[in-house]
Structures are given as structure tokens and as C-alpha cells.
């Protein structure tokens, strides 16, 4: 067992577990996108970053791939973490504005403007579908093609391969396909629709954990 401290709480965890797993076990919520408990950790979206404090220095690490270490000190919701997470969501929104998952996250984190040029790629390249296809369906029918901004998920030579059993798992697990934002008209890369159409829930006791996102006040941080 390894002893570590997350958000000021001392805890023990078996060697080999990740900080995200330990935090989730403790009831601490760290937002994730490319992580799924049934799939291997990938560390691509960087939404689950946490602050690792060591001596007088701190660094940001993706908690889904960060193994626990003795005497590790982790902050999951420090100012630095919140600032970085917001910027990452802002970047993701500018490349894939039509995902409800992302729009909800943006609303929860109090993002009220996307300052970057919106280039809708329709995909956040989280790799959930690729890993689901390979690891759960044992198929490997889809994979990544290309590099940098031309990277995309595709079948080999863009032909439906024999391995594909049409299970639809790739669509099911996709944070963009499955949960597309249907509001249609985006303002500054944000839809704002959900905030108005869905009843806004408010925490019984407001601790100011998230910034105000509209006239209705805070949303429950899910």
C-alpha cells in the first residue's frame, strides 16, 4: 500500500493504481473525457489534470495515467488546475463545438467565451472508440490516421473492414456522436442552450466551487 494525500486528505492505495482511481474512490470528482473505467488509460484529453506538489515545485499531470507514489501530494481543484482545465475545454470547444458533453463541461466550469478561431472537426480524438473497438470488442477495425491537425479516426484505407461487426460501440461511447449538441446556433463557440432549457440545479450549500454561469446561478458539478 502507498500513502498519499489528495486535497489534504491522507489515504492509502494499492501500488499500481492511478491517482484518478483513488480520487474517484474517495468521492472526489475529477472531470474526464478520454478516460473510461473499462478501457486502458490514454492520457490524451488532459481534462483530468491535477496539480502534483513536490518540495517547492508543482506540476500538472493527467491523473488518469499518473500512478500513485509514496508521499505524493495531489490537488485536484486548485486555482492552477481550474485555470488549465478551462483553457483545455476552451481549446476543445473551438475544435468541436457540437458536443453536449463539452458544452456542459464549459457551462460547469464557467467558460463564457471561446477566444479561439472555431474550426469544427467534429471529433475530439479522445480515442475512446478506437480503444473500445480494440479492447472490448476485440476487433481493431478503426484506428488513428495521420498526424497533428490532420489526425483522424478511420478504417484502414477508408473501407469497412471485415473485423467490423457493426456493433455500434464506437458511436455509443463517443462523447460527440452520442451526445451531440442540437442547439444549432453557437455564440462565440458556446451554445448556452442547455443553460436556458434544462432546469438549473443548485447545490444546497453553495461553496463557490464553480463560477456563475448564468442568471440561474450555479449548476451542480457533475
Amino acid at each position: 500500500m502507498v500513502e498519499l494525500t489528495i486535497d489534504g486528505i491522507k489515504t492509502n492505495a494499492p501500488e499500481g493504481t492511478t491517482v484518478l482511481e483513488v480520487a474517484t474512490e474517495m468521492g472526489i470528482v475529477i472531470p474526464t473525457l478520454c478516460y473510461h473505467p473499462g478501457l486502458s488509460p490514454y492520457g490524451a484529453c488532459r481534462v483530468c489534470i491535477v496539480e502534483v506538489v513536490k518540495d517547492n515545485r508543482s506540476s500538472l499531470e493527467a491523473s488518469c495515467t499518473l500512478p500513485v507514489e509514496p508521499r505524493q501530494v495531489i490537488l485536484t481543484n486548485s486555482e492552477k488546475v481550474r485555470k488549465a482545465r478551462k483553457l483545455i475545454i476552451e481549446l476543445l470547444l473551438s475544435s468541436c463545438p457540437n458536443s453536449k458533453t463539452l458544452q456542459d463541461m464549459a457551462a460547469n466550469m464557467g467558460i463564457n467565451r471561446v477566444r479561439f478561431k472555431v474550426k469544427d472537426r467534429g471529433c475530439i480524438l479522445c480515442g475512446l472508440c478506437v480503444r473500445y473497438c480494440k479492447e472490448q470488442m476485440k476487433s481493431g477495425g478503426i484506428g488513428f490516421v495521420g498526424r497533428g491537425t490532420s489526425r483522424r479516426v478511420a478504417t484502414a484505407f477508408d473501407v469497412t473492414p471485415e473485423e467490423c461487426r457493426n456493433c455500434g460501440g464506437c458511436e455509443w461511447i463517443c462523447p460527440v456522436c452520442e451526445r451531440a449538441c442540437t442547439a444549432g446556433n453557437l455564440i462565440d463557440g458556446l451554445c448556452g442552450g442547455c443553460q436556458n432549457l434544462i432546469p438549473v440545479e443548485t447545490c444546497p450549500v453553495c461553496t463557490g466551487c464553480s463560477e456563475s454561469v448564468g442568471p440561474q446561478g450555479h449548476r451542480v458539478y457533475q
Partner: protein, 619 residues
């Protein structure tokens, strides 16, 4: 060919080779490195060979085709031994004269000598050329002495004696201790202590005992070619370093991951590996010591990211070359899940030197935290383009003015970009900065693999930052969000600024983006990618502001922000500009000042380049 079975046989072989060679015999060492080849060195070599044959001098004169000598600006280069007479910019037509005059009669061919541009003095000998004089060419100096395709040349300069010393006189731990004492740090960019890496790899558990030793020759920085030249010119020094490393670590399998775009390096390395095997220096029971080790070549497909350790190993395994999180280091679990030790070409080439001459001697060179010498490729707006090897701690001023010969056309030095695309720009105010790992990092740049791009006053720093970010955007693997999307948005903003669409908040946004890319990227490519932008903002903020607020480019580079104007007083009305203009934008009457039609002008600058009276200016 008989395999060498003992260290004594190696010594005997060396003695035999040396006894067959007369140090007073005339020898022409011609540089056929990639730079000189581009200048036509192969034709010169062919012409020299023909001349030697035609004049019946095959017995008296030896022609040695070697790897890069370093002074690429003045190629093709050759040195005539035993006197070390140095000729530059040699053409095939000079071959006959070199043989008949210099080699046979000892006369110097005046027109082929190097002329110092500042003093106007002619230099006769290689060692007197200012470019070489200030260097300390411990590793690179051997390039001129050996034909990379002939292992005997390497034996002649004490080659493989370090391997024999390590295998028979040292325990693996002693070899690691020697490297630790020397203070050798990785030359590939990170500057990680080599001995620490070796030791971690040696101690890391491997379930079947397999450990790998890998040489990183995936050099991809724009303008950098020192690893290429070392592999092309002296592949045995790298192989020897790897054998020593493998013995120290306890590995029997080695790989050289080399770019497919370096065909000459691949060829020369393959030949060298084959020859080393023939002599029993690779394979089973090296020199009869009982130690087995062999090296395979793996050719990279030209992805910049594959220079990163985890991406390189993924590529070696046949997977997509993209990095993985490095919480478990590659020395513990790397290639095929086994402990793997990756070092750069130059690091490996340093190893035999340290073993042969001792850690104490080596650690006297350099500064407190950075020992030994470093090879830099000095390129850009500099008189003496080439590869230089200097002791750590030398100042930028010495590199640029004493070795590099200053800036061409009397322009002013503005900045030097070190460390490849992820390095930073160091301004003129820091020109006396000693060059070592720590000082460069403090200045917001890095040592990197050793690229050095010199810029003069005609270079726009915003445009430079845009160029490097564009390179990195294309080379990012695209796995993690900050690097893929962040760099792409950074490029958008920089393009906007250089095209006159910059907004007041852009600098702040660039700094914020730089922070997030640095802090949260998955690998070191993203972790250092914003350096060109952040360092130019740090040192040249005024240029960014001029672009954004004043909509002007102070260096006159960004096309959207400049106009070409004809100075009426200087224009003689010769009409050259009008003839050369591809757009037909310039008109006028002979012997009267001409005019540029700004609507037609595409700002290509052809008119300015062709005007003999400097009448065309940029505003």
C-alpha cells in the same frame, strides 16, 4: 578476414596497419560530407582519382574520401597531408594542378587558399584557419582522418581500444563510475546525466534478462545536421560507444534508429557494422571476452516526434510513433517492455573518448554543470556556415564572431535561435552568455541537439516564431489536446499578427496558450514547443506591438505590412526593376524615376534585389 580473438590481436593489427602506413606519404583528404557533396565534391574526388591514375602516382599519393570536415560554407574542402595544406572551393578543374604542384612539388596553389574576410590574409594550413583555430575538435576532428567505409582507418587512430580496455580491465560498474565522474550529459536535448541513465537501466528488473541499448539518430531539427555528419563520417565511434554502454548496462541487443532521409548515414553505418562484425567486434564473444552484443539498424519514416524516446520505441516496435506518459521511464520499461537505454549519436561518440583518456581529463573541459565539448550546427545569417565543436562554456560572441566570422553584408546581429524548433531566441543583449545546458535554459532557450540559427536585423521575430510554430504544428503527433489544438491556435494568432489582423489581446492570449501547452502536454515536444513564441515575446515584445498596434513590420519581412517604394532621388531610370517585375507593376520612362503600382505589387522583392542603386526601399 580473421576475427580478433584477444586484445593483443587488436593491438597487433593496429601495429601492422600503422607499419604499412608512411606518415610522410602524400595523402589528399577530401570532404565528401553531405554539404560538400552538394557543392560537387564527388566530382572533385573523381577528377583527383583520375589525375592520380593518369600521372601514375597510385603508389605515391593516397586519396581519402572522408566525412564532413565542418567548414561547409567553403566546400568542397580538401586537406593535403603531410603538411595539412588547406584548400577550399575546389573544382574538378583544379585537380591536375593540386597533384602536380602541391603534392609533387610542395607548391601552394594560391587561388584555392582560404582568405580571411576581415584581415584579407591568406591561410596556408588547416590549423591556422580562424574557423578551426578556436574550436576544440575532440570528436569531430577524426572525421578528416578516416574513410568511414574502411575500418582500418579507425583502427589506425586507436579505434576500439576503449572497447578492449572496458571489456578486459573494467567491471561494468567501473565503466559507469568512469562515465559518472566525467560528468557526461546526454547530447540529444534533455541533458540528462548519462551515467545515471545507464545505472537505472542496469538495475531495472527485466523478466527475461533482455535489455536494449539504442542510439537516437532521428535528428530532425531544421538546420541541424551534426548527428548526420558524425554517423556519415565516423560511424565506428558511435558503434564503439554503444558496445561500451551495452557492456556497462548488461545488454546484448542494440538498435540505431536513423532517419531514412539520411541515406549516406545508413549506408556508411551498414558498412561499418558489417566490418565490425567481420573483425569480431560485434556479435558473439567480442574480442574473446565472452561478451555478446550486436546492433541492428531501424530506419525512421521521417516523423519529427519519433526523436522522443517513447515515440521512438513505439516506432521500433512497429507501432504508430506517438509518445506515452513517462511516469514509468524507458530505462525501466521501454522497447518491448524491457529496460532500454536511449542515447543520442553524439553522446555515444563521447564514450570511447572518456574511456581512453580518462574521466579526469574529460571533466576538466567545460563548465561546472556541463562537461566536455558540444557540436553545434552554425547556420543562418552567418559568414562561416558549418559544424563546429567547442568546449562547453564558450560565449555566444566567440561562436558567432570568432568562429562564425560575424554577420554577412555588415548587417547587425539580432538574435540566435538555439536548440532547434523548440528552443528559444537569445537576443543581442545576452551575446556574452556562456553556452552550457543550464545557462541556455535560464535564458528561456535550451541546448537541444545543438542547432544554432543566427538572425540579423532583417529578420522579423514574429515571422520566425510563426515559422517554428508552423513546423511544430505539422510535426505534432496530434495525440494530446494542448499540443495539437494549442499549437494550431497559436499559429492562427501568429498568422493574423503577421498579416495585419492582430488584436490588442493577442500577446496575452499567446502567453496563456504557451503556458497551457508547456504545462499540460504529454511529452517534451509539447513541453518545449511554445519556447520560440515565449522567448520572442520576452525579448522582442516591441516587435509584436509594432505589428499589432502600428500594423508595421520593423524588419520589413511580413508582406501584408510592407510596401515597396522607389526613392526618386536615387532612381536612375535604368528600367531593370520594370523588366524583372513578374507582375508588370513597375512603369516609367527611361532615365526618369520609375513608379510601383501598389495594387499590382505582390511584394516579392525582386525589384529590390535587382536594383543596383539601392533606390527601392521597404516601408
Amino acid at each position: 578476414m580473421k576475427k580478433l580473438r584477444t586484445p593483443v590481436e587488436l593491438r597487433q593489427l593496429r601495429a601492422t596497419i600503422l607499419s604499412q602506413r608512411d606518415p610522410e606519404k602524400a595523402c589528399i583528404s577530401i570532404c565528401c560530407g553531405t554539404g560538400c557533396r552538394a557543392y560537387g565534391a564527388e566530382d572533385v574526388a573523381k577528377a583527383l582519382k583520375n589525375q592520380i591514375r593518369r600521372q601514375g602516382l597510385s603508389k605515391q599519393v593516397q586519396l581519402k574520401v572522408t566525412g564532413c570536415h565542418g567548414f561547409c560554407e567553403h566546400g568542397p574542402l580538401l586537406v593535403v597531408y603531410p603538411g595539412r595544406i588547406f584548400y577550399q572551393r575546389v573544382t574538378p578543374n583544379d585537380a591536375a594542378e593540386i597533384i602536380s604542384e602541391t603534392v609533387l612539388n610542395g607548391n601552394i596553389v594560391d587561388r584555392l587558399l582560404y582568405v580571411d574576410p576581415t584581415s584579407g590574409e591568406k591561410t596556408h594550413f588547416e590549423g591556422d584557419v580562424p574557423f578551426y583555430k578556436r574550436q576544440r575538435r575532440l570528436i569531430f576532428g577524426s572525421n578528416g582522418l578516416i574513410d568511414p567505409t574502411d575500418i582500418k582507418d579507425y583502427f589506425a587512430i586507436d579505434g576500439y581500444s576503449a572497447v578492449s580496455k572496458v571489456l578486459f580491465e573494467m567491471q561494468p560498474e567501473e565503466a559507469i563510475a568512469e562515465i559518472r565522474k566525467s560528468g557526461l550529459r546526454g547530447r540529444g536535448g534533455g541533458g540528462f546525466p548519462a551515467a545515471t541513465k545507464w545505472e537505472s537501466c542496469r538495475k531495472a528488473p527485466s523478466f527475461d534478462g533482455t535489455r536494449y541499448v539504442i542510439c537516437n539518430a532521428d535528428e530532425g531539427d531544421p538546420g541541424a545536421y551534426m548527428d548526420r555528419s558524425l554517423l556519415e563520417g565516423n560511424p565506428h565511434s558511435v558503434i564503439e560507444g554503444m558496445i561500451i554502454g551495452a557492456y556497462a548496462i548488461g545488454s546484448h541487443n542494440g538498435y540505431v534508429y536513423v532517419r531514412h532521409e539520411y541515406p549516406l548515414a545508413v549506408t556508411n553505418l551498414s558498412i561499418a557494422l558489417e566490418q565490425a562484425r567481420e573483425y569480431g567486434l560485434l556479435g558473439q564473444d567480442i574480442l574473446g571476452s565472452g561478451f555478446d552484443f550486436d546492433i541492428k539498424i531501424s530506419r525512421g519514416g521521417g516523423a519529427f516526434i519519433c526523436g522522443e524516446s517513447t515515440a521512438l520505441m513505439a516506432s521500433l516496435e512497429g507501432k504508430i510513433g506517438e509518445p506515452r506518459p513517462k511516469h514509468i521511464h524507458t530505462v525501466v520499461s521501454g522497447l518491448n517492455g524491457r529496460p532500454s537505454n536511449l542515447n543520442n549519436v553524439e553522446t555515444w561518440a563521447n564514450v570511447p573518448l572518456i574511456i581512453n583518456r580518462g574521466a579526469d581529463w574529460y571533466s576538466e573541459i567545460g563548465t561546472e554543470g556541463s562537461k566536455g565539448t558540444k557540436i553545434f550546427s552554425l547556420v543562418g545569417k552567418i559568414n562561416n556556415t558549418g559544424l563546429i565543436e567547442v568546449p562547453m562554456g564558450i560565449t555566444l560572441r566567440e561562436i558567432i564572431y570568432d568562429i562564425g566570422g560575424g554577420i554577412p553584408n555588415d548587417r547587425r546581429f539580432k538574435a540566435v535561435q538555439t536548440g532547434g524548433p523548440s528552443g528559444g531566441c537569445i537576443p543581442e543583449s545576452l551575446i556574452d552568455l556562456p553556452v552550457d545546458f543550464d545557462k541556455l535554459t535560464e535564458a528561456g532557450s535550451m541546448m537541444g541537439s545543438g542547432g544554432m540559427i543566427v538572425m540579423d536585423e532583417d529578420t522579423c521575430m514574429v515571422d520566425i516564431a510563426r515559422y517554428f510554430v508552423k513546423f511544430l504544428t505539422e510535426e505534432s503527433c496530434g495525440k494530446c489536446v494542448p499540443c495539437r489544438e494549442g499549437l494550431d491556435r497559436m499559429l492562427d494568432i501568429l498568422t493574423d499578427i503577421t498579416e495585419g489582423r492582430g488584436k490588442e489581446e493577442d500577446i496575452e492570449l499567446l502567453e496563456e496558450l504557451g503556458w497551457i501547452i508547456k504545462e499540460t502536454s504529454l511529452c517534451a515536444l509539447g513541453g518545449t514547443a511554445p519556447n520560440p513564441v515565449l522567448s520572442t515575446i520576452r525579448y522582442f515584445r516591441d516587435e509584436y506591438e509594432a505589428h499589432i498596434r502600428g500594423k508595421r513590420c520593423p524588419a520589413g519581412v511580413c508582406k501584408a505590412l510592407i510596401t515597396f517604394i522607389i526613392n526618386e532621388e536615387k532612381c536612375t531610370g535604368c528600367g531593370v526593376c520594370a523588366r524583372e517585375c513578374p507582375q508588370g507593376a513597375i512603369s516609367g520612362k527611361k532615365k526618369e524615376p520609375y513608379n510601383i503600382n501598389q495594387e499590382k505589387c505582390i511584394k516579392c522583392g525582386v525589384c529590390r534585389d535587382n536594383c543596383k542603386f539601392e533606390a527601392i526601399t521597404v516601408s
